[in-house]
């Protein structure tokens, strides 16, 4: 399998060249174009329980698409997320990564998409009671609206709640006010997420809710 990301950081999309017998899995409606000889099958996103949780509490789709190359030569499928923005590739070797709802784009079959109880803190932050944990061996592609920044946390770090895309599972999340009561609500920051521990996080430089917040007062 050969995958190249083009159009980054504004309009990242992934060209995946599947060798004979290979499969790539992608979120619902992620296919931009593909070879007509590739097989395409909709399957539940994990087992039924986790698929339902992901659908109704995590904001992901119930089904994912499997693109399967049953021919004798390499075939291409081009995958994309629903919003403009960047996509990155992560190679997992037994380790795992927590993804925010909507960040998952595609993965190889060795990757498991699971859900884990995230707690009420996450729910109050508008991010669902469960969090999506991606684990296994293989390649994962995820992305978000805007550019993506990587940051190594050692100790504590604060991220605006709508800008966190992914984080390593050993990090603990705590929801808090950005400052005092006054600065939290009048300074425009509201709630922030405090990450505690040691691990890697990915932040998006724009947020859809930020864009909507800018457009809304202009609608009549």
């Amino acid at each position: 399998m050969q995958a190249t990301i083009e159009g980054a950081p504004c309009f990242a999309h992934i060209h995946v060249d599947l060798d004979p017998g290979e499969t790539v899995i992608a979120e619902s409606d992620a296919m931009s174009s593909m070879s007509a000889t590739l097989g395409m099958e909709a399957k539940l996103n994990g087992n039924l329980f986790s698929a339902l949780i992901k659908r109704f509490l995590g904001g992901e789709s119930l089904f994912v698409n499997h693109f399967i190359n049953r021919t004798g030569e390499a075939q291409r499928v081009t995958l994309v997320q629903s919003t403009p923005g960047n996509i990155v590739q992560a190679d997992l070797a037994g380790n795992s990564l927590c993804l925010q709802p909507g960040a998952y784009v595609a993965s190889t079959p060795g990757i498991h998409l699971g859900v884990r109880w995230a707690g009420f803190v996450s729910w109050f932050a508008g991010e669902g009671l469960f969090k999506q944990v991606v684990s296994g061996h293989g390649t994962l592609w995820y992305g978000a609206y805007g550019g993506l920044l990587e940051r190594e946390v050692d100790g504590e770090f604060i991220v605006d709640s709508s800008h966190l895309v992914a984080y390593e599972p050993q990090l603990q999340l705590k929801l808090q006010l950005a400052g005092g009561l006054f600065s939290s609500f009048f300074g425009g920051e509201g709630f922030v997420t405090r990450l505690v521990g040691k691990g890697r996080i990915i932040i998006q430089t724009r947020s859809l809710s930020g864009l909507a917040g800018w457009i809304n007062p202009k609608l009549h």
């Binding site: 083009e6 504004c10 999309h13 593909m34 000889t37 097989g39 395409m40 789709s61 089904f63 698409n65």
Partner: protein
């Protein structure tokens, strides 16, 4: 004319350098800057007539009713065109061949090219969510097209599938039909892909990486309802 596409794929603009007494035609509203001595004329058609009817057909194809003709004087001139949405642009040089262009993707062209509507049929239009009329651009000359997202070409030799809403343009040597995604209706519906366009033949289809309708559906629920 010489065409320079800048700032792609995020926010592409086409900078056109016109030779003396040369004309570029463009979609109404596409011009963002130009030399002050260019002569501007607005009509409902390219050359060769057509009048109001052609203007109405342009409207049906999702283009604006009017097209603008920009003509340089004795010293040539510059003009810059842009699109409404963020995205990419591409230049294509026609050499007697014909390009079928998605509604709304046309930015500008040299005045020598011929432009007409290509009827794709109500059935296809209804099923694919695309329009019934597409632009058919032929003759000899250059044309600039825009997209939502980056543009990538796919060389088709046999069959290739492009999701509805991702087509920018294709060679007339290709045919497309609207079909279900995957092997079964189950997959098409559950997998969220629904209907797709299947291209057949030999030629190039230029795809846009992103789909403005999909983005609209992601952003829409966050917007306040119309009062």
């Amino acid at each position: 004319m010489d065409i320079e596409i800048q700032h792609g794929p995020g926010n592409a603009a086409a900078k056109i350098h016109l030779h003396p007494r040369e004309t570029v035609i463009a979609e109404g509203g596409a011009m963002i800057a130009m030399s002050s001595d260019l002569h501007v004329e607005t009509t409902t058609h390219n050359r060769g007539g057509g009048g109001i009817l052609k203007g109405l057909k342009r409207l049906l194809a999702g283009e604006s009713f009017f097209i603008n003709h920009f003509t340089s004087g004795d010293h040539g001139g510059n003009i810059i065109f842009a699109a409404d949405l963020p995205g990419d642009m591409m230049e294509y040089r026609l050499d007697g061949d014909t390009l079928i262009v998605q509604a709304g993707s046309f930015v500008c062209s040299s005045s020598e090219v011929t432009m007409d509507m290509s009827w794709q049929g109500f059935g296809k239009a209804f099923l694919s969510g695309e329009r019934a009329f597409w632009l058919k651009i032929g003759g000899h000359g250059q044309v600039v097209l825009s997209s939502f997202g980056a543009i990538y070409p796919v060389e088709v030799n046999g069959e290739y599938i492009v999701d509805t809403g991702h087509i920018v343009a294709f060679n007339e040597t290709l045919n497309f039909s609207v079909t279900k995604a995957g092997g079964s209706w189950m997959t098409a519906l559950l997998g969220g892909e629904g209907l797709v366009c299947k291209f057949q033949g030999q030629g190039t289809v230029w795809c846009q990486s992103h789909n403005e309708s999909t983005f609209g559906r992601a952003l829409g629920p966050l917007l306040k309802p119309r009062s």
